[in-house]
């Protein structure tokens, strides 16, 4: 933060605009959202008269320019993070103009992932807001020649308490700008009782635009003279073009040329996959031309990848001892003592993000510089990747972040933006690369397929005396380094090395698995399969012991305490947060279980035949979520979800409405995982292609009523975009068991 609190000297705004010729040309065509964003010549905040931080600028007319440095993909990050600053500044949200930051290290980490935008932004935004507020307060005191201590802010004005004199922020901006920027130690933060927006929230800054077709997504970016590209990627990861014939595509009306793109150098990282691009004067012509391309491929080693065989290998690996990643007590000795031994295996296939807006980007290469408009979760990764692909400094890449039509982790990987830049350089024109739905499904960075093996020994009361858990999955690290076959501490910390069950002998292991497709982050990542195994198995033990599921779950969690995870799993990263600020607190976990159960009427309602309730709890991204799912299963085995009750403890919640929406959405996302999601490969080629063979939940399949209960908490803010997902699948499957007696150990249901 201290680096970004700078009294930035005023730069020539108009001069900056003129120097970015592409922008001037595009003003007519590019939606306002895109061109009103910051340019390489600086942001509106920079050019406001008072701009004590890169995140805020105040004009003499009182307009407050706030910079949204994280991406908007539906989680409200673009609104919620600046809202924190507005609160601490005591600014009127109606007088705030948001602008989207370009990729620039001066904003620090801009990755919108890991459910950490509010968590990271909380202190930074409050500091920036308090800094500007103090400067305005001092300017007012100086103007009135009164002590600063007699002055305070009150919604966009500074008030002199004794005399009740008032001065607006705009009126004070010039005088405040002449003052030195205060040091952090001088700042006074508003107490919780004075918060205007934190805890109350605001609807999305873009809400009206989103309902009127005016919002600017990556798919909507336009520049004069641009052409469209569709790319035939190698059908197998690592495949290469042997030869191709473009006579037929070039005869398609609108198609102008074809351009080969070189294959990546392993590891694939964020490099484009390679292939052949078809360039046309509209998207459809590019699609049509591509269908007529005749490419001969050298498929390479991954052509051996068959999901059926691979599944067996994963399951066999999971049955054998793996790398110990957490150990408490002595599991082997405890198993040797006997007791009732339970074993179970679980499996979840690869999943595709299937964002409604497929990958798309518009790039304009001129004289060694690139301007790119992309729906990206990581504009700095766009700069780096394009810089590497084109052999230019990343500083020569200006990345404008458009709205994202969904992200879920897919748009953290900027391969598609690099494709647009490569093709713009090759054609000498602005190029928009548009992935079809088939491209999106067939060439993703998939959620890892995973097999889990679980074993427990129970005493006579049904309490586990020993618990062994093993997970095997191709790791995300394989995207970045060759021969990476074990999960790293980050992935294993996602619900595996931090399971807070109160069991005297506990061991977590991880087995080796090679990747044959690109593996990437997917909303809540490894928590999905880890929670599925742990929470399903916990429920199996409850039933085996003849115990109530909620009561048993609470007993497994054990008494309220802080779990010292690092004592048994030294590499656990606690989501990059300190265990002092964000300890694993079982009191909070118990509370969400109790709250969800109470709200659902657990044990108090008589359910009809074929109906059942299931519960699961999981801590991810430092947030505690328990969910009770009610299902109805008909004679054909068709599962309906009439009700979901979810309790969330995410610490201080900035935007409760957005939080509720995220938890509702997570239930639908989870429904897709349970019902139908499966990506499989044969001969290295992905077998699915569109929503017919990779279905996602529709309205008639989604939960009918999702109720969300937010725990009032003073703990520091944690994540909300992802944590709703992990407990959902096990809660549904536990409910199906309660309704039918059928235990689901493999997803999706459509394959079971």
């Amino acid at each position: 933060m201290s680096d970004s609190i700078l009294n930035v000297s005023r730069r020539g705004f108009l001069q900056g605009i003129v120097s970015t010729g592409a922008l001037i040309l595009s003003v007519r065509l590019v939606p306002e959202f895109l061109w009103a964003a910051e340019t390489s010549a600086g942001s509106h905040a920079d050019h406001a008269i008072l701009h004590p931080s890169v995140f805020v600028g105040i004009d003499t007319d009182g307009t407050v320019h706030l910079v949204a440095h994280r991406s908007e993909m539906g989680t409200s990050s673009r609104t919620s993070v600046p809202l924190i600053l507005a609160d601490e500044l005591d600014a009127d949200w109606k007088r705030v103009k948001l602008e989207q930051a370009i990729g620039d290290p001066r904003y620090g980490d801009q990755d919108t992932d890991g459910s950490h935008s509010v968590r990271d932004g909380f202190a930074t935004m409050r500091e920036a807001g308090a800094t500007a507020r103090l400067m305005l307060t001092r300017a007012a005191a100086q103007k009135w020649e009164v002590p600063v201590s007699e002055c305070e802010s009150d919604l966009h004005v500074i008030v002199h308490r004794p005399s009740k004199r008032k001065a607006g922020y705009g009126e004070l901006a010039s005088a405040a700008a002449a003052l030195p920027v205060p040091k952090k130690e001088e700042l006074q933060f508003k107490p919780k009782s004075a918060w205007r927006y934190i805890g109350k929230g605001a609807t999305s800054y873009d809400l009206v635009d989103l309902c009127t077709g005016k919002a600017g997504f990556g798919m909507d970016a336009r520049l004069d003279g641009m052409v469209y590209a569709s790319i035939e990627h190698p059908p197998v990861l690592g495949g290469k073009v042997k030869s191709y014939d473009d006579k037929a595509p070039l005869q398609v009306r609108g198609v102008t040329q074809t351009i080969p793109i070189k294959p990546f150098t392993p590891p694939h990282h964020f490099q484009p996959l390679g292939g052949v691009a078809v360039i046309a004067d509209n998207t459809w012509a590019a699609f049509q031309g591509r269908k007529k391309l005749n490419v001969a491929w050298d498929n390479g080693a991954n052509a051996s990848y068959n999901s059926d065989q691979y599944k067996k290998e994963l399951q066999e690996t999971a049955r054998k001892p793996g790398k110990v990643v957490r150990n408490i007590g002595d599991v082997d000795a405890a198993f040797a003592k006997g007791g009732r031994v339970m074993e179970a295996e679980y499996y979840i296939p690869h999943l595709a993000h299937a964002t409604m807006e497929p990958p798309v980007a518009l790039a304009d290469y001129r004289d060694g510089k690139v301007t790119v408009w992309a729906p990206t979760q990581s504009p700095q990764a766009v700069q780096e990747t394009i810089g590497e692909e084109l052999g230019i400094p990343k500083e020569n890449v200006t990345c404008h972040v458009t709205l994202l039509g969904g992200g879920f982790g897919r748009k953290s990987k900027p391969d598609y933006a690099a494709e647009a830049a490569i093709l713009s350089k090759a054609t000498g024109k602005p190029v928009k690369v548009v992935w079809s739905r088939e491209d999106d499904i067939k060439f993703g960075y998939y959620h890892a397929v995973a097999a889990m093996y679980m074993k427990a020994a129970l005493d006579e009361k049904g309490r586990p005396t020993a618990w062994l858990q093993r997970s095997v999955f191709p790791p995300i690290g394989s995207t970045f380094a060759l021969n990476t076959t074990y999960g790293d501490a980050g992935e294993l910390g996602l619900g595996w090395t931090d399971l807070p069950f109160d069991i005297p002998n506990h061991r977590a292991e991880n087995g080796s698995a090679e990747n044959h497709v690109r593996i990437g982050w997917f909303r809540s990542v490894a928590n999905i399969y880890h929670a599925f195994a742990a929470q399903s198995f916990a429920n199996e033990l409850a039933h085996a012991s003849g115990r109530d599921s909620v009561e048993y779950l609470l007993e497994l969690i054990g008494p309220a305490r802080i779990v010292d995870v690092k004592a048994s799993a030294p590499e656990n990263e606690n989501y990059g947060a300190s265990t002092k600020d964000y300890p694993l607190d079982t009191a909070r976990m118990r509370r969400v279980v109790e709250l969800a159960a109470e709200k659902a009427g657990w044990g108090k309602r008589k359910l009809s035949k074929g109906s059942g309730m299931g519960i699961a709890v999981h801590r991810s991204f430092l947030t505690y979520v328990a969910t009770v799912v009610e299902v109805e299963v008909d004679d054909q085995g068709e599962v309906k979800i009439p009700a979901v009750h979810t309790a969330v403890d995410a610490g201080v919640v900035v935007n409760p409405e957005a939080t509720r929406a995220q938890i509702e959405g997570a239930a639908v996302f989870g429904t897709s995982i349970v019902r139908s999601g499966a990506i499989t490969a044969k001969g290295g080629v992905i077998e699915q292609s569109n929503f017919n063979d990779y279905p996602v939940a529709r309205m008639n399949e989604a939960p009918y009523k999702i109720s969300v209960y937010i725990v009032d908490s003073d703990a520091p803010p944690a994540g909300v975009g992802e944590p709703g997902v992990p407990p959902f699948a096990p809660a549904v499957c536990n409910a199906i068991f309660a309704a039918t007696g059928k235990r689901i150990r493999e997803l999706p249901l459509s394959k079971a």
Partner: protein, 151 residues
């Protein structure tokens, strides 16, 4: 030369008559409110109105729309917001928002046919429109509210 009427304006077009309406709207006319989601009428993101009824513009050729009235999200309301859009805002429906143009166009068409839709009517009418963010519960509530129901 074809004549296509979009949002009350008549355009002449001498390109490929097989060009899907979606790409004509987006790439030729610059009406980007209508979205591309799947290209084969499975997701409903591209929904527009043809003579007042919802159609999937990704599988409707420009040639087939000659003599018909096409209305897109940009012109669904003559000044201000359509009542369905107002309910969408009131119920804070969108998350990422990419699918919502299509959802709104579908909902308006549904309400024209069934002014007081039941849950089944709503599910039947809206099941063709995918929202990956999962805003279905709010969509249902907004439709009911637009139909004058207390929700």
């Amino acid at each position: 030369m074809m004549h296509i009427k979009v949002n009350g304006v008549e355009h002449s077009f001498d390109g490929d008559p097989d060009l899907p309406l979606l790409w004509y709207l987006r790439d030729v006319l610059g009406l980007t409110g209508t979205k591309f989601g799947c290209g084969i009428a499975l997701c409903g993101n591209c929904t527009v109105h043809q003579d007042g009824k919802a159609i999937r513009s990704c599988v409707t050729s420009v040639g087939a729309t000659a003599g018909k009235e096409i209305i897109t999200i940009e012109a669904i309301s003559k000044g201000g917001l359509h009542p369905v859009q107002q309910k969408w805002i009131e119920y804070n429906v969108p998350q990422c928002g990419y699918c919502q143009s299509g959802q709104i166009m579908q909902a308006i068409s549904l309400l024209k046919e069934k002014p007081k839709p039941s849950d089944e009517d709503i599910e039947g009418g809206m099941a063709g429109n995918i929202c990956r963010c999962g805003t279905y519960q709010r969509i249902r509530a907004a439709i009911k509210a637009a139909a004058g129901e207390n929700v």
